[in-house]
Every structure is written in C-alpha cells, then in structure tokens.
C-alpha cells in the first residue's frame, strides 16, 4: 500500500519534472530569439554608421558613442537558465543605451537630405525598423514563456518538485524606462 502510494507520487513528480523541463526549454528558445534579434540590430549598425559618416563627417562624437554602446551591448550575454533579474536588467540597460545612441544617429541622418534620399540608407533604415519590431515581438514572447514557466513552478504542490530539482523563477523584461516616463515638458522650454 505504502509502496503503491510512493510509486504514485514518484510518477506524478516525474511528470511534473518533465513538464518543467519542457517549459524551461521554451523559455530558452524564446531567449534565443531575443538574442538573435538584438544581434541582428548590432550587425546593422556599422553599415549605418559608415553611410551617415560619408555625408556628415563632423558628427564624430555621435559615431563614437554609437560604436561604444554597440560594443558594450554585444559583450553582455545571458544564460537564461540561471539569469537573475539584475543580469537581465543590465542586459536591458546596455541595449537601451544602444537604442538611445541609435536614436541620435538617426536624428543626425534626418537633418541631411542627401542621407535621407540615399538608397542604401533607406534600405538599412527599413531593416532597422523591422528589427526593432522583431525585438519587441521576441521580448513579448520571452515574457510569455517565462510567465508560463513561473506559474508552473510556483503553484502548489508543483513548487515542491521545483525546489527539489532547483528550478528558479525566470526574470521578465520590464517596459523601457524611457517609454514609461512622460517627457518633462518644462525642461524643453528652460535654458
């Protein structure tokens, strides 16, 4: 009788363990997509910089900042299985800084009509837009997978199995700080 009960529990735990492994695998796949898309963006940047440089030679500071931010962002890699919220935050921050640098680069490009009508630039611009879209989609997908996994491992009695095998809660992407904050209108009119 006792043996039967233990066997039943063991079977149940086995099933839950497998479900958690699958869910964790999904989180990792989703993370792979996020990294791919960020990498894709990073790959576009040198070409963008070189085109803008051709026409706007004096904006050296913008180029340096962009390449610097790119180097910093590509250095951070995360293992999604053991990532802490702080690590993800650092990753997100580095990518966010790159986004800002890119924003400045595009603003420079906007002020030069020759750049705006350059065929190569237009192509790169549409690819960059597409990549930003894909990043957003991939981040959402990651958050969803992470949520599914987190719910699975935190529900009782699944949490016992999760604790036994050391499954940890996965961090989420937070909405970007800049997007969340309403712009400070007053500061625009000062100075």
């Amino acid at each position: 009788m006792i043996i039967a009960a233990v066997a039943a529990i063991a079977f149940w735990a086995l099933g839950k363990y497998n479900a958690m492994v699958t869910a964790e695998e999904n989180v990792e796949t989703a993370w792979g997509q996020v990294e791919n898309q960020y990498q894709r963006r990073a790959d576009l940047i040198p070409n963008l910089v070189s085109i803008v440089k051709q026409f706007a030679k004096h904006e050296t500071e913008v180029y340096e900042k962009t390449m610097e931010a790119r180097a910093k962002a590509t250095q951070i890699t995360i293992d999604p299985a053991n990532a802490t919220p702080e690590q993800l935050m650092a990753f997100q921050q580095a990518q966010g800084e790159l986004s800002q640098a890119l924003g400045r680069l595009m603003a420079v490009a906007e002020s030069y009509p020759e750049i705006k009508s350059n065929e190569n630039f237009l192509q790169l611009q549409s690819q960059l837009e597409g990549t930003e879209n894909r990043i957003a989609v991939a981040r959402n997908a990651f958050n969803e997978e992470a949520k599914t996994f987190n719910i699975l491992i935190r529900k009782f009695p699944n949490n016992i199995v999760a604790n036994m095998f050391g499954f940890q809660k996965k961090p989420y992407f937070e909405a970007d700080e800049n997007a969340k904050k309403a712009p400070d209108v007053r500061s625009i009119f000062e100075d």
Binding site: Q123, S126, Q127, E129, G130, N133, R134, A138
Partner: protein
C-alpha cells in the same frame, strides 16, 4: 407591440452598424474564411471596390497555387487608438495566415482613419520578402496611389509586387522545397498505406484495361510514356503512350493527359483549418505565424 419590437431591433442594428466601423480588437474583424473557404480579402467596410476584391483574390489564388503562400488583405475603416503594428501582428497570428509548418503568409493591412498601412510577413517568407522590399512596396507602390485616393490601384499594385517577388524561379524553388516534406510529417503510415493500395489497384486495373493490339487484337503489350508538358500546380500536362505489342510487335501511340498536381500543403492546411489547434481561435487559414517582419507606415 410588434412595431415597438421592430424599432428596437432596428436601433440595435444601427448601434451594431456604427460599432462595426471601429474595430477595437482583432476578434471583431470578420474573418473572410468564415463565409468563403477560398477568400483572401477582408473588406467589411467596403473600402475597396468589388472589382478590386475580385482582382486581389485572383492574384492570391494564383500565388497560392504556384507557391503555397497565403497572401491576405484586410481593409478597415478604423482601429480606434490601437497600434497598427500590434493590431496587424495580432490579426496575422490569430487568423494563422500561411501554413503551420513553414509560416508562408503575407498580410497587407490598411486602416483608413489614421492612414495606416502595415505589411506583415510570416516567418517563412521573410527571406524572400525582406523588410526593405516591403518598405519599397509600401512607399513606392501604395503610398503614392493612396495619397491620390486610389486605394484599389495601390492595393492591386502591392499585390502584384508581392506576387512578382515570390514567383521568380529562385523564390518558387525555395518556397516549394517545403511541400515535399509536409505529407511525410503529417502521417507517414496513412500516406503509405493509401499509396501502396492505390499502386496495387492500379496494377490490377492496368491488366484489365490494357488495350488490345489493333493489329492482332490480343491483350498484352509493353508501354513507354513520353511526357510532352509536365503537369504543374496550375495546369494539367500532356504525354504520349508508346505501345509495343508483345505478340506481333506492332507499335502504336496514344496521347494522354497528366492531371494537375495538387499541393499537399493546401489540403493539409484546409484540414487543419477545421480540425487544427488554431480553429478554436477562429483562424481558418493555415495556422502560420509572423514574428514581426515586414514594414509599416502612413500615407
């Protein structure tokens, strides 16, 4: 009493009619496949002319026959304050445009109120229809016509541009590559048993149907087939049977037609539209997904 009821019903219809102009969520957009299994255009507000809808459907049918790609158009009056990118992506994935295995779907979406255009590409056509190409179609083919107010022409030109980009020889080769694998992945045993049964039946039949030699009137001849035009997904082919009588050695020819190829993906996608996991979500296309590819803009 009846008159009152009539008015109430009319009022309800009016309210419904007014609401239908603004689609606050994807679920409110009528799926054209609910009405017609061969439809590709959702034009609930009559933004496009019936002639244009017919043309677009024709282009999509041709594209689907040749490449298996589902090219879908949605023209709405308004999506309120919804973001056009998110809306089009949600629509794409809720309806499941394109086939499930290779995600070969394209959506051209327009919303009149804020002049939104979105071209969404499924995962399987991103390589052939990269964002830069979508952007060229959007700004080069659609926006100039839309600014003139000719939505029909803008849509038609965009559809033709997508069609042309996906039907070059290389593009077709890449897109059709997936078709051979699909029936295997679906159910290898079912396919095998049916095929072997058919082969057995065919050999049996062949014996009975074997033509008599016109010279010695006996059955029993060898036959070689020569293909003149191979069959394609769009048209039937032609060939000639070369018979040699094994009794008297008499030779004679007989022409035959090769029936049109049926793409396995379209049949499987149709099946999944009724029984697959996506049907529960109202999707009646193939179950394909987009990961955000394409281009967007305003005219």
């Amino acid at each position: 009493m009846i008159k009152k009821l009539y008015i109430v019903v009319l009022l309800c219809l009016c309210a419904f009619g007014m609401q239908a102009r603004e689609y606050a969520s994807v679920a409110e957009v009528p799926n054209p496949r609910d009405i017609d299994a061969g439809a590709y255009v959702a034009n609930p507000d009559g933004v496009l002319s019936p002639q244009c809808v017919a043309d677009l459907t024709k282009i999509s049918q041709m594209l689907n026959e040749q490449t298996g790609v589902e090219l879908v158009y949605v023209a709405l009056e308004s999506i309120g304050f919804e973001d056009a990118f998110d809306f089009s992506l949600d629509l794409f994935n809720t309806w499941g445009i394109g086939d499930k295995e290779k995600n070969r779907g394209v959506l051209i979406f327009i919303a009149m109120e804020y002049h939104d255009i979105q071209i969404r590409t499924g995962g399987g056509v991103e390589g052939l229809l990269p964002d830069a190409t979508c952007s060229e179609i959007l700004w080069g083919d659609m926006v100039p016509e839309f600014r003139k107010g000719d939505y029909d022409k803008g849509m038609r030109d965009a559809a033709i541009a997508v069609y042309e980009a996906l039907t070059t020889d290389e593009a077709q080769a890449e897109l059709l590559l997936g078709w051979k694998r699909e029936p295997v992945s679906e159910s290898p045993y079912k396919g095998l048993s049916i095929i072997s049964l058919l082969v057995m039946l065919f050999t049996l039949l062949k014996h009975f149907v074997q033509p008599k030699c016109p010279n010695c009137k006996k059955k029993g001849s060898t036959c070689k087939n020569e293909v003149i035009h191979a069959a394609t997904y769009a048209a039937a082919g032609e060939g000639i049977h070369h018979y040699v009588c094994s009794h008297c050695g008499h030779k004679w020819d007989k022409p035959y037609t090769i029936s049109k190829l049926t793409p396995p993906s379209s049949s499987s996608s149709r099946r999944s539209s009724y029984g697959g996991g996506y049907s529960s979500r109202g999707g009646s296309f193939g179950g394909g997904r987009s990961f955000g590819g394409g281009a967007g803009g305003r005219w």
